[in-house]
């Protein structure tokens, strides 16, 4: 207002700035604010480290936890991103595939761990009565019963794939040409039915499946750890291995090429003679398999779980997928990294019960600025 009489130069400048800030640049302004916020936080972090307000070790611990979290989020997010790009709907039942993996895998692991000693029902249902064994008594850790844990891992993947394929046949195949929103609503129904069918058998109470994790105290000096949790290490190694394997599959096999083609343009893929139903089969198999493994590994890492494990994870997975941009598996990996680090590194500033709020807020903010996600331009590659 008051600058009107200070000369033409200023008012031109003001006009220019106003031009910049008008129509399309509402988003730019918002992006600027977000970047500014991140810069301020980064500077504050440096200050805290410099003044010793926060120990470097604590920051490293947050970062490491963030990396671990981002790995299992990534396993689940890849599957969600694949179904999103190939079947073209937001699958709200994906979180419950994670739950399915956790329950089915650990049921098998317990069955093997306690075979012949305890009753089948007691083992499969994780000791519903006080008389049953605990995870500790069964020796459910990677050193004491590696075979049970490994077979459980494979079973988690296979059983989850079987259930996902059965659901596809029962529900989604009848809706191949329905709109994305109809499929989304149906998937909410699938999510509820699947979760509470599990709930009828295993109840809604929380279970504890594993023995306490073995800790390696003697570690080569070049590793930045004082001690190593072997269950966490198993999670990291398995997840990284699966992600690399998937990368090779998508890049170097015909199936991978077909999947990428179908994600890119379904009609064109059909015309070119790509067997779409077979690609959908592969999509569910890979997506559900990874989700099942994710659920199994989370339980290995945390020990405690209930039927809500996947549902509570679902929104974080969605946040990761959306941040990365739908259809891009590498985007999903980047998104998972961002979300995993956000929920942990944000602990520097906010209390632990607000960290998921930070992740969800970040998701909403980035969607406002880039409605197609961070790597929205990149197609499945």
């Amino acid at each position: 207002m008051g600058v009107g009489n200070t000369g033409k130069g200023v008012s031109e400048f003001v006009d220019e700035v106003r031009d910049r800030l008008s129509s399309p640049s509402g988003q730019e302004l918002f992006a600027l604010l977000i970047v500014l916020g991140i810069v301020v936080l980064a500077l504050d972090l440096v200050r805290r480290l410099a003044t010793g307000e926060m120990a470097f070790g604590r920051l490293w611990r947050y970062t490491w936890n963030g990396l671990v979290d981002s790995l299992y989020i990534a396993l689940a997010a890849i599957g969600l991103s694949m179904t999103y790009s190939i079947l073209r709907f937001a699958n709200f039942s994906h979180g419950d595939l994670v739950t399915t993996g956790a329950f089915s895998g650990w049921a098998v692991a317990w069955l093997i761990g306690g075979w012949g000693v305890y009753g089948i029902g007691e083992l499969v249902l994780f000791s519903p009565t006080a008389a049953g064994p605990t995870g500790g008594e069964l020796g459910m850790n990677v050193l004491a019963s590696p075979v049970a844990i490994l077979v459980g891992l494979v079973a988690a993947a296979l059983l989850t794939v079987a259930i996902a394929l059965a659901i596809d046949r029962l529900v989604y195949r009848r809706m191949r040409n329905a709109s994305g929103i109809s499929l989304l609503i149906a998937s909410v129904g699938v999510a509820l039915a699947l979760r509470y069918i599990i709930g009828v058998f295993w109840t809604v109470e929380s279970h504890s499946a594993t023995a306490s994790a073995p800790i390696l105290e003697e570690i080569p000096a070049w590793l930045p750890f004082e001690r190593l949790n072997l269950h966490e290490l198993t999670l990291v190694v398995t997840a990284v291995g699966l992600i690399v394997g998937l990368h090779l599959l998508l890049q170097y096999t015909k199936l991978g090429k077909a999947m990428r083609a179908m994600a890119d343009n379904k009609d064109l893929a059909l015309i070119t003679g790509i067997p779409t139903e077979r690609v959908i089969f592969a999509t569910w198999s890979i997506g559900a398999g990874l989700a099942g493994v994710a659920g199994y590994l989370i339980v290995l890492d945390r020990g405690q779980f209930s039927i809500n494990i996947g549902w509570f994870l679902l929104l974080l997975i969605f946040a990761a997928v959306i941040l990365g941009g739908i259809g891009s598996i590498y985007g999903a990996l980047v998104g998972s990294l961002v979300i995993g680090l956000t929920i942990n590194v944000s602990l520097v500033w906010i209390p632990a019960d607000l960290n998921e709020i930070a992740a969800f807020t970040l998701m909403i903010l980035i969607l406002i600025v880039k409605p197609d996600g961070l790597l929205g331009g990149v197609e499945t590659a």
Binding site: A90, P128, T129, G180, G189, A191, Y196, I197, A319, P371
Partner: protein, 477 residues
């Protein structure tokens, strides 16, 4: 439900039904689409009556007892009203405007928490402001509307499925915030959300009791209570019943408000946005403004529903606002058929009766017939089944796990409706965005009001049957 639907034709058939609340233009040959109050009311009444009779007969025959059956019918009515309110509010978003909002629980939470903080006693922990309940309800409604406004303005351009996830994320942000320990008491003040323990406040249904203490109303109330006690109804039951009546009045108010909106020029813009936002915009409609207004209004109504529902408890906590609540309302709307206010009311009621209360009623019947001595785990149930006692399994599933059964039924209904009848029970009544009946072109010239803007578009909208076009205009693939 009640097999004979009086409206075989879509709602566009206005002949012979001069709306009884629509005083202007009673001529019968008009092609202007007007709400059909009478036939819709009849339809709702039929469904409600059939459900009551059905539950009563089944309840009495199965030996659940008259009292338990009446109790079930009362809670069906209460929850039917609640879900009808929720579905009506959601219908404004999803049915009319095509905005896929799955953050209903969050807006309800904002309404209910605002109410509780406003009316809680100043000496409580956390403290409240001790305001009168009506003020609290208004504040709660306004707060939810403002929250909707803040959320929708920046996210207008987000795709439909992303918008869904944004709203779900928002409702989780609200829930996690009120649950957080750091907001239990904000700053150094005594005010706050109470964290996981929630807030204790005077429930809104205490208004009924308060009314009974007033001079004239109280005399009538006193007579009612005496009458009730002679028939054998406790005064608390009577008060609950009167509160349910208040809710039904709200349903009527919502219904009238939303039907008025739907048949106004503003409502036609909303429907045009649902069918094709770009076309509506090309015709010079301010679609952004309409979407913002519709979303904020719907959120305010959701906040009001939150205050009326959760406010009727003495205590609210974050657990009352799990995302499941959202899906309750969604299923109610989808069962009834998005896009129809009458469908929303019927859907809310049918949902409350058969999905929400149904499993509990089965539980009551199981208890009456098989007792309560059932195994507590699936292991025990299957062990007894193996020993030749199938009632143990029935009891385990329908008695011990009645809540789980409810959610399974909820999920299965959602799936079946989406596969078999994606438009819901009354989906064929989805209103088009035209002001006049397009199937009767000749009549437009003499009887019709000048159609507003969106009528070009509704040529296509009138014929549309494919779900892609009816489900959210802003979802571009």
């Amino acid at each position: 439900m009640s097999g004979a639907d009086p409206n075989g034709d879509p709602e566009t058939d206005t002949a012979g039904v001069p709306g009884d609340e629509e005083p202007d233009e009673p001529e019968e040959s008009s092609a202007v689409i007007r709400p059909e109050w009478r036939s819709d009311l009849l339809l709702v009444a039929k469904v409600v009556l059939a459900t009551y009779v059905g539950f009563f007969v089944v309840g009495v025959l199965s030996g659940a007892g008259v009292n338990a059956t009446i109790g079930t019918i009362q809670s069906i009515t209460f929850f039917g009203a609640i879900f009808a309110l929720g579905a009506l509010a959601l219908n404004l978003h999803w049915g009319y405007t095509g905005m896929f909002n799955i953050g209903i629980a969050g807006f309800m939470a904002i309404g209910a928490y605002t109410l509780s903080i406003a009316v809680a006693s100043p000496d409580g922990s956390p403290a409240g402001f001790g305001l009168p309940i009506p003020v609290g309800i208004v504040l709660g409604t306004i707060a939810a509307g403002l929250a909707g406004l803040v959320l929708v303005i920046p996210t207008l351009r987000v795709r439909a499925d992303y918008f869904a996830i944004v709203t779900l994320g928002f409702s989780e942000i609200v829930r996690l915030s009120v649950q957080s320990r750091s907001l239990r008491e904000i700053g150094d003040t005594a005010y706050g959300t109470g964290g996981g323990q929630g807030i204790r406040a005077t429930p809104v249904d205490s208004v009924v009791g308060w009314l009974f203490d007033q001079p004239i109303v109280g005399d009538v109330g006193g007579v009612l209570i005496v009458l009730g006690e002679t028939v054998g109804i406790a005064s608390s039951v009577l008060e609950r019943g009167i509160y349910t009546l208040v809710l039904i009045l709200f349903v009527v108010a919502f219904y009238v408000l939303l039907t008025r909106i739907a048949h106004s020029p503003f409502g036609r813009v909303l429907k045009a946005i649902r069918e094709d936002e770009l076309a509506a915009k090309s015709l010079g409609k301010r679609t952004d403004r309409a979407k913002i207004a519709a979303f904020a209004l719907g959120c305010a109504l959701m906040g009001l529903v939150g205050t009326l529902w959760m406010g009727s408890r003495t205590h609210i906590s974050p657990d009352n606002f799990m995302p499941l609540i959202t899906f309750y309302v969604f299923v109610a709307l989808i069962v009834g058929g998005a896009g129809s206010n009458t469908g929303s009311v019927i859907g809310g009621f049918v949902f409350a009766a058969f999905i929400f209360e149904g499993p509990r009623f089965v539980r009551t019947m199981v208890r009456a017939n098989l007792g309560t001595d059932f195994p507590r785990t699936a292991h025990g149930a299957f062990a007894e089944l193996g020993a030749g006692d199938p009632s143990a399994l029935i009891g385990y599933v329908f008695y011990q796990q009645a809540d789980e059964v409810r959610y399974i039924v909820l999920g299965v209904v959602l799936i079946v409706v989406m596969i078999k009848r994606p438009d819901g029970l009354l989906g064929h009544r989805k209103e088009i965005s035209a002001g006049v009946d397009l199937s009767r072109r000749g009549a437009v010239a003499d009887g019709g009001r000048p159609a507003l803007g969106s009528d070009d578009r509704s040529d296509a909208a009138g014929e549309t049957d494919d779900p892609a076009a009816t489900n959210g205009g802003d979802h571009d693939e």
